[in-house]
């Protein structure tokens, strides 16, 4: 049980970084967990230097999806779109497989999620929205 609801994950879920109102229609991307109906609307703002200034999201989801979004909001701040894309790919590749080494910080809370395969989608939700938001940003150019 404690594999999944570790203190780190619970702390993020209870006080999520970046959670807020993103009215429908104002989002840069949204993602839906078709298994449960959970959804996230994501809004990204960028600095003049091109780095991520702030990630705001409105998420109706479980503790796992909320913690994942919170960790991402904190970790990705300041990163360039290309760096975020690289991190998103690495996250997806590691989640439920190799897991997260020390340099991944709080994301280590997802080590062991492979025992709960149904929850992998929950942890991925914010990252799916992020990838869509980055793709939309690329297409705008």
């Amino acid at each position: 049980m404690n594999d999944i609801y570790q203190a780190t994950l619970l702390a993020h879920a209870k006080n999520p970084h970046g959670a807020g109102r993103v009215p429908a229609g104002s989002e840069d991307a949204e993602a839906l967990n078709t298994a449960c109906g959970d959804e996230i609307r994501l809004k990204l703002s960028w600095t003049s230097g091109g780095g991520l200034e702030r990630m705001t999201y409105e998420l109706h989801g479980c503790a796992v999806s909320m913690a994942s979004a919170s960790m991402a909001a904190r970790r990705l701040e300041g990163m360039l779109p290309s760096e975020i894309a690289t991190m998103a790919a690495a996250f997806a590749a590691r989640l439920g497989h190799a897991g997260f080494a020390e340099e991944w910080g709080d994301f280590q809370a997802f080590n062991g999620i492979e025992k709960y395969p149904a929850r992998i989608h929950c942890a991925m939700l914010v990252w799916q929205a992020l990838e869509k938001a980055l793709a939309n940003k690329r297409n705008e150019k």
Partner: protein
């Protein structure tokens, strides 16, 4: 069938232990409270399927050899068992399908879509499962017909007064309604729905999936036109179900699965169809599934009335005790629960409640339960559902409540 429960009269104390024994899977340390998703199967069902494959396996109807005759007899015997189980006039009114979803799709594709046209209205109830909603969306799409929804009353029942008022005798063509809601838990008055629909000239398809394990099914008394159900929600195998249709309607229904078994004569350019119901069963049928379903029917029919009372009592008790917990909201009407209770825990997502419960060996459903339109009407994205069978116990409700409290402690 020595495993069959001994019958107990009304008022006698029911012992779930006597029912539990033939369910080997329940020997795992497991409180299986996800029966509305799928029940477990008792030994006689497993044995019947096993014996079919070990002793009688052959394709049906087209084999001259003795195993073919045995397989055909088993398959047609199962059809007769289904017919008797739901009060059909004849086994020919029973079409075997892959389950409730396949049954509804068959009726919509083979019948409803052929007669729904511009200006027509199709009604679905607000508490339909996606399987009795989405096919109707498809049926009205692109033909100028519209989908209307039977609304809910504030206590979570169907608002039949609003339905009667909104029914148009000129436009209403079809009504799709569930017998028992897979979320709210009460049985609908399908007989009243059918009466109103027929008075307006509309036909009715009833989704019986959540009812057949718990309530006596009688399509004649319901007076519906089509009735769909699955084997696996009534202790039978997955992958088998049935569509019942009034004989004269099945004669008008178009086949939608074409190929072997369903034809009378095939020429190079055209074909003619086998008689009803075979023309709707293209391809090799799931004979072992039908045999297992027949065994499940026999098992359900042998349940004493006290077993059904026990299930209803568990659902009522669980609902009452959950509702008494702080920050827990129970959905659906207080009276008339057939077998299940859905609830939400304030501040704790349904998946997290279910995960905590799973860690304690309690299996429940969490999510939208394939009823997203209903969830939106209730103002929620998801809920937790505990659903019961005769093998469940009061002690499992105690464990459920302890688990819910543990989830509250963890997340709030």
């Amino acid at each position: 069938m020595s495993e069959r429960p001994e019958s107990a009269g009304k008022g006698e104390v029911f012992d779930p232990g006597s029912i539990r024994r033939p369910f080997a899977i329940l020997n795992r340390d497991l409180a299986w409270l996800d029966n509305a998703a799928t029940t477990q199967r008792p030994e006689p069902v497993l044995k019947a399927m096993d014996q079919f494959y070990r002793l009688h396996n052959a394709n049906t109807r087209r084999s001259v050899h003795r195993l073919g005759a045995e397989a055909t007899a088993a398959y047609e015997g199962a059809r007769a068992a289904v017919a008797a189980f739901i009060g059909a006039k004849s086994p020919a009114e029973i079409v075997f399908t892959g389950g409730t979803t396949a049954s509804i799709n068959l009726a919509v594709a083979g019948f409803a879509r052929w007669e729904i046209g511009p200006g027509d209205e199709v009604w679905v109830s607000a508490m339909e499962h996606h399987s009795n909603w989405v096919p109707w969306q498809e049926a009205v799409k692109g033909v100028g017909a519209s989908l209307k929804v039977i609304p809910l009353t504030s206590d979570g029942r169907l608002d039949l007064a609003a339905f009667r008022k909104g029914l148009s005798a000129h436009r209403a063509k079809w009504v799709a309604a569930t017998w028992v809601s897979n979320v709210l838990g009460a049985a609908n008055d399908v007989r009243a729905i059918c009466a109103a629909a027929h008075a307006a000239g509309a036909r009715v398809l009833v989704d019986g999936a959540q009812g057949v394990a718990h309530l006596p099914a009688d399509v004649a008394a319901m007076d519906c036109d089509f009735f769909a159900f699955s084997g696996h929600k009534m202790y039978g195998p997955m992958g088998i179900g049935a569509l019942w249709g009034r004989g004269e309607l099945l004669e008008q229904m178009h086949p939608s699965i074409f190929g072997g078994e369903m034809i009378a004569r095939v020429d190079e350019q055209t074909s003619t169809w086998a008689e009803v119901p075979y023309r709707f069963e293209g391809g090799t049928p799931h004979v072992a599934g039908a045999v297992g379903l027949a065994a499940a029917i026999e098992w359900v029919r042998a349940l004493p009335p006290a077993a059904h009372e026990h299930v209803a009592n568990l659902a009522r008790e669980a609902a009452e005790r959950l509702a008494a917990l702080k920050d827990v909201r129970v959905w659906g009407p207080a009276e008339g629960r057939v077998s299940l209770v859905s609830f939400s825990v304030k501040g704790v997502h349904a998946h997290d409640v279910a995960q905590v419960l799973d860690s304690r060996g309690i299996a429940v459903r969490a999510g939208h339960m394939c009823a997203q339109p209903l969830m939106r009407r209730l103002g929620i994205e998801s809920a937790v559902r505990a659903s019961f069978a005769p093998y469940n116990t009061t002690d499992e409700i105690r464990r459920l409540l302890e688990g819910v409290r543990a989830a509250q402690e963890l997340f709030t």
